[in-house]
Amino acid sequence: MTTPPTHGDELADPGSITTTEADAPAVLMRNVTKRYGTKVALDDVSLVVDQGSICGLIGPNGAGKSTLMSIVATLITASTGQVEVFGRSIDRPSDIRKLIGYVPDVLGTYSGLTVEEYLLFFADAYHVSRENRDALVDGLLELVDLTGKKDADINTLSRGMKQRIGLARGLVHEPRLLILDEPASGLDPRARIELRDILLHLNSMGVTVLISSHILSELEELCSDVIVLEQGRLVGMEGLDDQSVRVVTVSFLGGEVESFELDGDEAQVELVRTLVTQGRQVLSVEIVSTGLEERFMRMTEGRTN
């Protein structure tokens, strides 16, 4: 994960930005503060979301996750600070909206419309050409595995299906950045797995994903980076790919299994050496977690909401 720029960095001066759109981060926030009256929803937040990453946004209720996402989605403005999406300032929202797909936690639907009509409407609203829109909608329904529900009344769909329709709606204009606000809330385990698979597939196609969730294990399976917010402040940004912190399970001959929390490759080698020295018969060592939960607790110093 790229280090976020701060007050002292050369990027602090908007005029000094030299990055091109191709190598610019998907999202760049610099000293962003958002106030609602006297309440500070975001407090001097600076962060970077790399292109092609799946970045998880974690934090308790009221941490500022939705506010941060709404600012990036150009739905609300920051009180102070600077935000760029793919190197473009969000001061011109119409430029940014072409690049982002936003999926809120609740899918607002129109009564009396079929799934296909709903998506066709958004295709028209995004000025998708008439020649392409039918094929596009069919493709999106296939992607979210709802082709069979094409002619169903959208209000009769389950929450999981609606969430997938929301995802299809967010993709109708083929955005480069997908912003998902608590997409898994209220979904059953099967729907969560399906959603995760779709997001991984989209990411493999080059779509950057910014996703918020309360469910740490879910983000752990999905994300390459995580950003932790607490009470409007950024308390941590970490890459999960390096797996420097991990939980491993060691299987022993005879069926015994033990878990260990480690902080890197060397610690893992040392653990195996110690176990062998102790005469224990190690069958396998498996990384089961990158220790996101442990990191989260460490970053928030054990505070819970």
Binding site: L75, P104, L107, D124
Partner: protein, 286 residues
Amino acid sequence: MANPLVRLEFMRRFRTPAAAWGIPLAMVLPGLAVIAMYGTTVAANDWVGGNMDVGAVGMEPQVQNAVGLGMFSTVASMLMLTLIVLVPAFVGGSIAGERHSQTLQPLQLTAMTPGQIVWGKFVSSLAYLMLIILCVSPVIVVPFLLGGIPASTVIGSYLAIFVICFEFAAVSLAVSAITSRPATAIVAALLVVGFIVLAPIIATGLAMALAAADGRGFQADQSVLKYISTISPISIGSLVPIPKPNDIRFINGAYQVLSVIWFLTISSLSLLLARRGVTAPVERDR
């Protein structure tokens, strides 16, 4: 259809049970009202000494004309009163409803401009209202066939009703765009439209009464009274051509132009306010 929102709104409106019942009701109920009105008017005329048989056949032409004119005035007035309630009730929830059902934000993020969103909502609402008004046409035709009303008056009345509806809808849409809950928006739209319609008329009446009490009579402050009256959208009705013997309109001449200016001002300001209300980013839509 260039604006996708207009097509969407039409699709939605005509699929609702309200549409299935609303349009036939709009045709049948006023028809029944006219039949009742016809009977009442004839009976009233008979009671005050009119020399006619019940029914148009055998009715003296001048009496028939008076009945036709009386019925037309009543129908037009009833239609206007209905619209004061119907338009805010119909349009008031349109944008607030989008906000409440969380469909406004996705719409704001599309390539549609705030102006297109407002215009789509406005045109679709107005077109549906026009359809309902057109359903009342047979009711207008009955008094017209009885006589006493030239075609120009009927057409002019329709145009005036359309223009007044336009202003009611614009004001209601503005209220809707700055309100979060549909029910609140409808009530607020009703109050604002009611105020715009009635306040100038009430103010004029009070001013007349005060002038009369002051001993100056109705004539004293007529220019001021006319000026105040032009603010009410109903003053647009003063542009409708009326047959000479019955033409006793209060607003005339330059004041008719003023009523058009007020209409244009209030309507365009309302649409601009509505546009501002759906423009993102805004803090309220969080």
